[in-house]
Each structure stands twice: as structure tokens, then as C-alpha cells.
Amino acid sequence: MLKWVAAVTVLLALIHTWIVFASIPMIMQPFNFLQGVTAFTGMIYAFLIISALYSLASDLSQGGAQLFLSQPISRVTYVLAWILASLGTPTLIFVLSIVLPIVVIDPSLLYLLSSSGLHLLILETLELSCFIFLVACVSKNRGATLLVGLLLFFILPFMIPLLLMMIYSPIGAQPMRDYLFEVYAVFYPFRYALISFGRNINSASYVGTTMLMLTTFALILFYSKRRLEVT
């Protein structure tokens, strides 16, 4: 894990430092500050989370969890530790790799992050990661975890808008198309903001995404307390 973290950090820090250095003088257009770059580096961040959850599935299926749980550790503590390690650490590293270059250049420029959509990206990634975490806990299968992770992060966010645009005309009022895009915005708020060219996400989508994330988190805790069996 440490090697992965180091490699990903080098990559993220290099890209973000270079982009922050180069785009800070262009802050006449703050509405999309770093948004294009984080759309790309967000995939690296998602990949780090998927690889951590793959390790969790390995741990659950190959006896590692059994050995840990033979110590005086509760299953909830074990699961919470994995949430911190697999979701918390990559998130912190990703945020630090963007925030620290700005802090070093000029801390007063941190306000620019409000227009970068960073909060949407993190909300979206955590919401999807909680779901993959649940899949890893329930299936205890590395392949299934990897497949769901790749599907949720790398295939569906691109396929859904493409399909919607193929089915419905992009021109004119189309209530069904707009409704389906609203649903898409709940699952993928950052991608939605990106494809709608910075159009504001309405507060219902925010609440929807947050509720979805909290519900999945509660399900993880419930499952780990009542149903989680390690073999």
C-alpha cells in the first residue's frame, strides 16, 4: 500500500503543482479553475481507492481479516479502520496535493478552490466508494470489487450521458431527459457539473448525494455489526 501511495502522490503532486503554478496567473476566469485537471487526476484518486478496496476484499477472503479479528478488535472497529485507510487516506492525499501548492504560492488564494468543483469531486468519489466498500464486504470477492469499482468510476459516468444524448434530442424541452439528468446529477454531481459547463448543481442534488452516501455508510456499519462473517 505504501508503494502505491508514494507512486500516486508523486504523480498527483507533479500534475497539481505544475497546473497550479501555471494557471494561477489566469485567474481572470475563476469559474473553472483546475476543474479540467481534477477531472483527470480524480481518476487517479479513484484508482487508489479501488486498489485499497481490492486489498480489503483480499483480506476478507484470504484469512487476513480472520487473524486480525482473533485479536481483541471488534468487527465495527476493523471496518472503520479500513474505511479510514481506504477512503480517508486517499482523500486526504488528493486534497493536500491540490491545497499545498496554493498555500505555498499564496495562502490568500485558497478562495479559488470554491470554483474548482473539488467539493463535488470528493462528495462523488466518497459516495461511490462507500458503495464499492459495501460490495467488497458483502461479496468478499476481489474480482467483483474490482469490476464494480471500474464500472462505477470509469464506465458508467461516461456511458450514461452518452446513452441519454443518443436516446433523447439535446435540443428543446424534454422532461424525461432532464429528469434522468437530475438523477445522474445525484450519482455523479462532479461529472454533471463538468458536462453541463459549470451549470450550478441544485441543492436537491447535493442533499441526494449526501443522503445516498450516508445511507450506504449506515448499511456498511449495520452489515459489519450484524452480518459480517470472516472465513
Partner: protein, 263 residues
């Protein structure tokens, strides 16, 4: 987890420090903005001509360690101005604080062919130092006959600016056969480009160093201060690998007993 965060912090700090040091040795120049300059006023006769072009308002942000430079390019179509590169006797680019832009407006509105020289003299005395003049411009004739005026890297002293270009043409050999035409904006392309040069300050280097040191401290303290926990983790890892090896051995044995080749 703490060790991972410490390592990440150290890596980010070191990369920032490398960028800062590289920036000090080889100042990095980045093209940050580009503005189109549109023709505001023109006066052309068979012998002389004045073209005044202005840009939109430029707003830059003052950032520690960044200095801004202005570059410009103008293309003058020969079919319109009926002049060559050597006919351009003067081209001046004025960069003013936005608050002073009214000065040029006054100049532009009262400019006539008769008072051209007088008005230019007045303007120069009011504005004082101009950003560039003919000497600093690279004037050349392009293969297709257009005249190109180019200037590079003038330091900018203001962050809220308006730019005006005044190009004075004096034809050496006026040609009455070709009457002067009004320069349509399409025949005078003017672009301003702002470059940002990064030369990191001491404060920025100190901040990067603090981040790198903090990361190294967190990573090493986690490794040094919690050897017991790490030891326990190693034991668990070894036990897991032993268990896996024993599991596969038992499977092989079972396969042999069944008379099959172990997988």
C-alpha cells in the same frame, strides 16, 4: 495510515521545493492571457496615417513571486494601408492604469489630420514614458506582404490596465493611384499577450521546506514511535502467508490422495 500521510506530505513538500528551486535558477515564463486589440480610430491620407487600437480592460492578480510581462503582435494588411514595413515611422504602445484611460479617449476624439503631430506630442508629454516605441519593435514584412509589428516582454507595473497602440505611418512614396481605405478591423489584427514569470520568493521556499520537513517528521515518528504495533502487523502478515501456504499444501495432499496431479 499516519505513515502513508507523512510520506505523501514529504513527497508533496519535496516536489514543491524542487519547483521553487528550479524557478529560482530558470525563471519560468508562462503565457497567461491573450487579448484582441480592436481599431478604435484611424486617420489615413496619401502621405500619413494614424491607427489607434485599444484592448479590453486587463485585470491581473498581484501574486507573490510572479511578475508580469506584456508582448504584442500587430498585422497590418498592405492592401489597406498601402505601406511597407519601412514606411512605419512610429508605433507606440501605451499601457495605462484603467483609471487613466480617459486621457486616450480625449486624445482619440479630438484627433484630426491637421493636428496629428501636435496631439501626439501632447499625449507623450502627459503620459510620459511609453511602454514601447519604434526602437523596441521588431518590424518586418511578411511573405504575403503584410507588415508585422512585434514586441516582447515589457514589464508591467500595474495590475488593472488598459492598453492602447498608436501606429503612425508615413509613406515614403505616396501613390495617388491607390486611394487610402479605412482599415477594417479584419485588416489590422492586434493581439496582446501577458506572460507571467515565476521567481519564487524566500517566503514561498520556506513554506515548501516546512511542508517537506513536517512530512518527514510524521513519517519517521510513526515508524520509530510505534515499533510494537508495526511488529504485530508483521506477525499478522507472516501468519497469513503461512496459513495460505499450509492451505495450498493441504489441498495438494488431498489431490494426491485422490490420485490426481496437484494443480
Amino acid at each position: 495510515m499516519i505513515r502513508e500521510i507523512g510520506v505523501a506530505l514529504a513527497i508533496i513538500g519535496i516536489i514543491l521545493l524542487v519547483f521553487m528551486t528550479a524557478g529560482s535558477v530558470l525563471p519560468l515564463s508562462i503565457r497567461s492571457q491573450s487579448w484582441y486589440m480592436s481599431v478604435e480610430r484611424y486617420l489615413l491620407s496619401n502621405k500619413t496615417g494614424v491607427i489607434v487600437a485599444s484592448s479590453e480592460l486587463l485585470k491581473l492578480t498581484k501574486i507573490e513571486g510572479y511578475s508580469y510581462y506584456l508582448g504584442c503582435i500587430f498585422y497590418l494588411e498592405p492592401s489597406v494601408i498601402n505601406a511597407s514595413a519601412s514606411d512605419i515611422v512610429n508605433a507606440e504602445l501605451y499601457v495605462l492604469k484603467s483609471a487613466d484611460a480617459a486621457l486616450i479617449d480625449g486624445f482619440v476624439n479630438t484627433l484630426t489630420p491637421e493636428n496629428m503631430d501636435e496631439k501626439l506630442g501632447e499625449l507623450r508629454s502627459i503620459l510620459g514614458r511609453k511602454a514601447i516605441s519604434k526602437d523596441e519593435l521588431e518590424t518586418m514584412t511578411r511573405p504575403y506582404g503584410a507588415v508585422m509589428l512585434e514586441c516582447e516582454k515589457m514589464p508591467l507595473h500595474y495590475y488593472d490596465i488598459s492598453a492602447y497602440a498608436i501606429i503612425v505611418i508615413k509613406r515614403k512614396a505616396p501613390s495617388p493611384a491607390t486611394p487610402p481605405t479605412a482599415p477594417h478591423p479584419l485588416f489590422l489584427h492586434g493581439n496582446l499577450e501577458v506572460y507571467a514569470e515565476i521567481a519564487p520568493s524566500v517566503n514561498q521556499k520556506v513554506r515548501a521546506t516546512i511542508i517537506a520537513i513536517l512530512g518527514v517528521l510524521i513519517a519517521t515518528s510513526d515508524t520509530l514511535l510505534r515499533p510494537k504495533a508495526r511488529g504485530r502487523l508483521e506477525i499478522v502478515k507472516r501468519l497469513t502467508s503461512i496459513q495460505r501456504a499450509e492451505g495450498s499444501k493441504a489441498e495438494d495432499k488431498e489431490e494426491r490422495l485422490r490420485g490426481r496431479e496437484p494443480s
